[in-house]
């Protein structure tokens, strides 16, 4: 008994020490990721913020002099001749188009992705893997090439118009390229898997006996979907929507190829400032504006989603 007494004490101390070592070990494991984040995300972000408050250089680049010109030109523009300040409606139009197209893309992705994910989740285990594999196939090819492939389908001499003309359904090719619709279709095509995968992940966990219970308690298909399935897959809906909305908002390649010069989105506007525009501070300020839009949209969305959640359950 005498030497049994200090044993638990010792064991506890040893366990605590092991715990500390364990925590230290885990920090060490996450160090590479933290370093990458620090140097590749937070570092550049700080530089972007600093640039947005500097004067633009003549041939691109920046001059190290404090200025709020860039921030003013995000929303306002100065007439070169009269120095009159007006609202930069070209920028606002692009902001609006970006938000509108990203929102529509997200809604469409949800509309197409939900039944797809439901279909996959209700297959047997073997064919589920096959379907998931098929969903990821588009990721295997370069985005640019895929976007050009979409162009091949929808351009005036493309497949869709050839068929429509061949069948005599239209007399002249339907203008699809270089429209908002073309951009949205392109975005939908690119980001649909990002909606399907998280939706599938949360649907797969549903106990389908709950669906039976819903039917048993006089719920029609629509009611089962709205009152049982939807609340249960809401985490997937939120994750999928975020994964589609954010990259859509900053999309660059798709609007560039499918929207032509006329249907710019925020990503193209930013790129222009660092390219032909030679206005790095404005580009930086626009980038931060984009981030701000994303954050506001996210906050709004998450707050709204949790409110409906509280009402249902």
């Amino acid at each position: 008994m005498a030497d049994a007494k200090p044993a638990p004490n010792f064991a506890a101390r040893a366990a605590a020490a092991a715990d500390r070592r364990d925590t230290r070990g885990r920090w060490l494991l996450s160090a590479p990721a933290l370093l990458i984040l620090l140097f590749a995300a937070i570092g550049p972000l700080i530089i972007v913020v600093i640039y947005s408050f500097l004067k633009k250089g003549g041939y691109g680049g920046v001059e190290w002099e404090f200025s709020t010109d860039a921030w003013t030109s995000v929303v306002f523009q100065k007439d070169i001749f009269t120095d009159e300040i007006t609202i930069a409606d070209a920028h606002l139009l692009i902001f609006w188009r970006s938000v509108k197209l990203s929102f529509l893309t997200t809604v469409m992705a949800l509309a197409f992705g939900f039944p797809t994910a439901y279909f996959i989740a209700t297959r047997n285990e073997k064919s589920r893997d096959l379907w998931l594999f098929l969903i990821t196939i588009p990721f295997w090819t370069n985005l640019l090439i895929r976007t050009f492939a979409v162009m091949e389908v929808i351009r005036n001499e493309g497949i869709v118009n050839s068929i429509l003309l061949g069948l005599g359904l239209v007399d002249a090719p339907v203008q699809i390229m270089f429209t908002d619709f073309a951009v949205m279709m392109g975005l939908l095509y690119v980001y649909l898997p990002l909606m399907v995968l998280p939706l599938y992940a949360s649907m797969e966990r549903i106990d389908f006996r709950l669906v039976e219970a819903g039917y048993d308690l006089y719920a029609t298909r629509w009611h089962v979907l709205r009152r049982v399935i939807f609340p249960l897959v809401k985490p997937g809906v939120i994750a999928g929507s975020i994964l589609v909305f954010i990259p859509s908002l900053g999309a660059y390649v798709t609007p560039r190829v499918l929207g032509g010069g006329r249907n710019l989105m925020l990503g193209n506007l930013i790129e222009m400032q660092f390219g032909q525009g030679r206005n790095w501070p404005l580009g930086a300020a626009l980038s931060i504006t984009l981030m701000a839009i994303v954050m506001v949209a996210l906050l709004f969305y998450v707050k709204n989603a949790s409110k409906t959640g509280a009402r249902h359950g």
């Binding site: 006996r209 219970a213 048993d216 308690l217 006089y218 719920a219 029609t220 959640g309 249902h312 359950g313």
Partner: protein, 364 residues
Amino acid sequence: MSAAVAVEAKDVSKIFGAGPGEVRALDNVSVTIRQNEFFTLLGPSGCGKTTLLRLIAGFEMPTEGSILLEGEEVAHLPPFKRHVNTVFQSYALFPHMTVAQNIAFGLEMLGKPKAEVQSTVNAMLKLVRMEELNGRRTSQISGGQQQRVALARALAPRPKVLLLDEPLSALDLKLRKEMQIELKRMQLETGITFIFVTHDQEEALTMSDRIAVMSKGKILQIGSPTDIYEHPTVRFVADFIGETNFIEAEVMQRIATDGQIKLPSGVVISHPLSENVGVGAKVTLAVRPERIDLVRPGTEAHLGGTVQNIVYFGTDTTFHVALDGSGQEVTVRVQNRRGHQEVLKVGDAVGLRIAPEAMQILKD
């Protein structure tokens, strides 16, 4: 006791899959379940009892045959158009809703006015004795409580028939016994027809008005618990419910339904015979261990044997007796009403006496 029919299944078959891999889960089953009845489908797993329940609920459609709910054909109606509710084996409570919201679900789907929903939910919470937990999430209550909520949810819309799919199997023994009594109470209080599926013979015997014993997709026997226990008609039923001794015998003579049957010991007894066994036919007698008396070997005994083993159980003592000649082992249970009597020892010769009405002639 109303004799009106609640559910009638007519020549129902259900085949899963197709071709050589097909499974005939139900094979031409017919059964009539009366109103206000506690009816149990009893059988081992894979006997088709749950399939029959799911056909009545509407989760499966029969391959052949028809299902009538209070005289109306429902075989091909979806579950939400049938006025029956189910208590699932896994309870299947909605995890994103509170206890009260779960119970209200069916009523809301039927479009009942808010005040009625509220008062019915309260009445149901009271019926299952869960009033104080109405605001809890279903994940925050114990298994036994979940069971009660599942019951309340299924009873709330006042279904014509309540279907219960092994609802007690996940509970521990003590809780299960409590719930057996509770279920019976609720059935009497609500007057709703209960169809209960179980593989537990004791559960079936204690709660049911009538039991259907099923095996391999067929109903073998339907009867009251006493009928099923004391007068099994087929070997499977006698064997599945309780303990039974099977004794082979031969028909010596029959006049109308009065037969003379020769036991393995050579003793001939009188026993009523069903119409399909002729003279010379071999029959199997089912005899419950507690219906056999131990007597002195000799003229009084129907069978003779040697005591092989004596097992003391407290309330009773079991004797394993090897019959003279065949050596077949027969189990005899003697109640210890005056305490354990150490009259017999292993190796003693003993006589067995069985009242003729305790011998049940089986069909096969």
